[in-house]
């Protein structure tokens, strides 16, 4: 079957539209339950975070809150956005730039008792960087 020039362009345009629609639909379907909501400790305090759903928690590591469990691998600390605090537990080696008083993004799940269990910790990459959410708040103050 040969595609005639006149029809060929039509076929190609239709295919392109299908591909575009397919990509958007596929993306929407994927985003439905896989987009992690970015929350702050204030959101959690206000009950806006659903427990047991993948979320990212952003804020500053509270000074003096970092503690280590007897197994030597699990750490506990509190994340603050200056208005509220959330306790976080994480098992593993913390990234290079992670320390008390600096910005952090924790990926994980919130448990029903309000403890945030992190699977992954991301620390800021640049001395001047802070999560945009915190920068917004700092700017409005």
């Amino acid at each position: 079957m040969i595609v005639r020039p006149k029809h060929q362009r039509l076929v190609l345009i239709i295919l392109a539209v299908i591909a575009l629609l397919g990509a958007v639909l596929l993306a929407m379907w994927g985003l439905q339950d896989r987009a992690a909501y970015f929350v702050t400790p204030s959101d959690i305090a206000a009950g806006k975070a659903t427990p047991d759903k993948a979320i990212r928690l952003g804020g500053m590591v509270v000074k003096g809150s970092l503690k280590r469990d007897p197994d030597g691998l699990t750490i506990r600390f509190a994340v603050s956005d200056t208005k509220a605090e959330t306790p976080v537990v994480y098992r593993g080696i913390t990234p290079d730039l992670f320390r008390e008083g600096s910005g952090v993004v924790a990926e994980g799940r919130l448990e029903a008792n309000g403890l945030f269990v992190a699977d992954n910790i991301l620390a800021k990459h640049d001395e001047r960087y802070m999560p945009p959410q915190m920068a917004d708040e700092a700017a409005t103050k």
Binding site: V3, L20, V24, A27, G30, Y37
Partner: protein
């Protein structure tokens, strides 16, 4: 003085870009003379921009702390290679590098382009000047790299130690060469559309630039992936971080363009589609720059928030992408019909390749920009991560890989010969590998299993186009294609193997204790201090043994005084069948050290695959340029 000279060169270059645009717009009557003026102006613009960039490098090498940018990002005690690389390890410097590549690319087109007619070349150089002008304005108005600091500080603030790495000296320039190399494809497409001259000649002029940019992007992404792998100490090689996506999106578009531009150059088909891809590929480069440079991302890579710069780049982006797509919409009815082909043909396969790449591009684009759009519309803070990208993009990527078993085996235009003998080696290898994985490793996930089968099938399938050819007379371009496709197979095998077989161990150990991971027994010997040019470190000694093989790993926890920062330096031992990866964590009050160990079978194939893909591209590029030169020479001889 150097700073002022650099700034003056930048202003002059901007003025020349404006002149170039004006000349290109007024290109009429005396074509012959006009085009040579435009060429000369473009070359002058490239030279002046190069001088400005050289001035910035000189300032960094001399540690001239009276320049704000140097004081903020450098330090006199840094090794010279990082002073050098520090010139583009920051916002202003990297934007200057961007413009430099853009202007030099324009100059190279002006110097060497002989395939386009004068008017199309003039329009293309005009488009290139319009692009450069916007970014010159951005530098001069919103991010002057040569700003002075008075009084000058005694020393600088230093460069983020994470960025003090040989890989990083090489990484941004490579990516930028790729990003900005695509600008030429964009400008030639704009020139062709303005002149209503969308022909195979346009595709042939575009092709070396697309190839070169694509090679650089491939290398840049491969290097960036390896840098993140060993420097961040997370053991992963792709994080779907928006900054990584910013380089992946232009690569996906360029890969599609690379394939479709061949259809247009060789067969005269897919005209409007190729023009659209050329516009989109560089648009993706600009979107990537916007994402990285505007600081609007919640990302580990994001730089300081600066709304002025963000809106400036956004305005440029809207102007260029909007303008180019409008031009395409207006001129699409003037684009001639392409040559016809059957559905089962090389062209048909390439159309499918392009559609799948476009779908992946769409999925990555939506996933990367959705959080920004959601926040702008509803104020909701979202972040999209690996679960989305892996589950949505990987199946499409595997489908594209499966197409690669078939596509290169097809003939141009129509393919009525029996297909099965040509497809058999690849399909057979894939099926055998699939059965083997089910028997050997019944419990691995479906995606890595399919990846292993596909990779195994692609090895013979990518070599098949050489079958039945005289190897000595096979063009370089075909060798390049075979090598690049083989690289895809190798990379897929590496990714699947790493995903399926990685073993991880997290331990708190005292010196003298032994830990095991995968086939390795690791004896934790001791922790000793160590020192480098501008850092001190604690260094662990790990004696790893497997069978009779013994190796020593020395992961470090490094401390940099300027600015005070600690980083983890992973220790990696590479053997033929994988990498052993060790990270040293902190010491607790009972004298135990945190150790994180990975055994990653065949993980190196990922980057080896990337390098093979780029090499394949290089082979094709050299082959094409060589052949064109020969043909031109033969033509000239025929005239004489």
């Amino acid at each position: 003085m150097i700073a002022e000279a650099g700034l003056a060169a930048l202003w002059l270059a901007a003025a020349l870009a404006a002149l170039q645009l004006a000349l290109a717009c007024g290109l009429g009557g005396e074509q012959g003379r006009q085009i040579s003026t435009v060429r000369a102006v473009a070359i002058g613009q490239g030279l002046l921009t190069a001088i400005a960039f050289a001035a910035l490098i000189a300032l960094f090498l001399r540690s001239d702390m009276s320049v704000l940018l140097v004081a903020e990002n450098s330090h006199s005690q840094k090794p010279w290679i990082y002073k050098f690389a520090g010139a583009w390890g920051n916002h202003e410097g990297s934007m200057l590098l961007w413009v430099t590549v853009l202007a030099i690319a324009g100059a190279v087109v002006a110097l060497f382009e002989r395939r386009l007619d004068d008017r199309t070349l003039g329009a293309s150089l005009g488009a290139q000047a319009a692009l450069a002008l916007g970014f010159f304005a951005f530098l001069l108005i919103a991010s002057n790299p040569f700003e002075r600091l008075n009084p000058a500080p005694l020393d600088g603030r230093g460069l983020n130690p994470l960025l003090q790495d040989p890989g990083l000296a090489f990484h941004p320039p490579t990516l930028y060469l790729g990003y900005v190399g695509l600008s030429v494809a964009f400008s030639i497409a704009v020139g062709g559309l303005i002149r209503r001259e969308v022909s195979p000649a346009i595709a042939r002029a575009m092709r070396p630039w697309v190839l070169a940019a694509w090679i650089m992007l491939t290398l840049g992404i491969t290097a960036g992936s390896y840098w993140a792998y060993y420097e961040l100490g997370w053991g992963g090689w792709w994080f779907w971080d928006p900054v990584e996506n910013a380089s992946l999106m232009p690569w996906l578009a360029a890969t599609a363009l690379l394939h479709s531009v061949n259809v247009l150059a060789a067969r005269g088909g897919l005209r409007a589609w190729t023009m659209m891809l050329a516009l989109i590929a560089f648009s993706m480069s600009m979107v990537g720059t916007f994402l990285v440079r505007s600081g609007i991302l919640t990302s580990v890579h994001a730089f300081a928030v600066d709304p002025t710069r963000g809106s400036f780049i956004l305005a440029l982006l809207t102007l260029y992408i909007g303008g180019a797509l409008t031009l395409l919409a207006v001129r699409i009815s003037h684009v001639k019909e392409g040559a016809p082909f059957e559905i089962v043909s090389r062209e048909g396969g390439l159309v499918l390749n392009n559609l799948l790449l476009s779908v992946i591009l769409g999925v990555v684009f939506v996933g990367t920009l959705y959080p920004l759009a959601a926040e702008a519309v509803s104020g909701e803070k979202l972040s999209v991560g690996p679960p989305y990208f892996n589950s949505v993009a990987s199946p499409i990527a595997l489908t594209l890989g499966a197409l690669l078993l078939i596509g290169p085996q097809l003939r141009w235009r129509r393919d009525s010969a029996p297909l099965l003998p040509r497809l058999a080696p690849g399909l057979l290898a894939a099926v055998v590998a699939l059965v083997a994985t089910i028997i050997l490793w019944p419990s691995i996930d479906i995606l890595p299993r399919l990846g292993l089968a596909l990779g195994a099938g692609l090895v013979p399938a990518s070599v098949m186009p050489l079958f039945g050819r005289s190897l000595r007379r096979t063009p370089f371009a075909v060798w390049g294609m075979v090598l690049a496709h083989l690289g895809v197979a190798v990379a897929i095998l590496g990714m699947a193997s790493d995903t399926a077989f990685t073993r991880e161990k997290l331990a708190a150990a005292r010196p003298g204790e032994t830990v095991s991971v995968g086939p390795w027994l690791i004896e934790f010997r001791q922790v000793m201090p160590a020192a480098g040019p501008n850092w001190t470190a604690l260094q662990a000694e790990l004696r790893a043994s497997r069978g009779s093989g013994v190796t020593v790993l020395k992961p470090q926890s490094r401390f940099f005084p300027d600015p005070p920062t600690t980083t983890n330096e992973a220790a990696i031992d590479t053997s033929w069948n994988g990498q052993l990866y060790a990270v040293l964590g902190e010491r607790d009050d009972q004298g135990r050290w945190q150790l994180r160990l990975w055994w990653k079978p065949f993980v190196t194939l990922i980057w080896l695959g990337g390098i093979l893909i780029a090499l394949g591209g290089a082979l094709a590029l050299v082959g094409r340029l060589f052949r064109e030169r020969q043909q031109r020479r033969r033509l000239e001889e025929a005239f004489e």
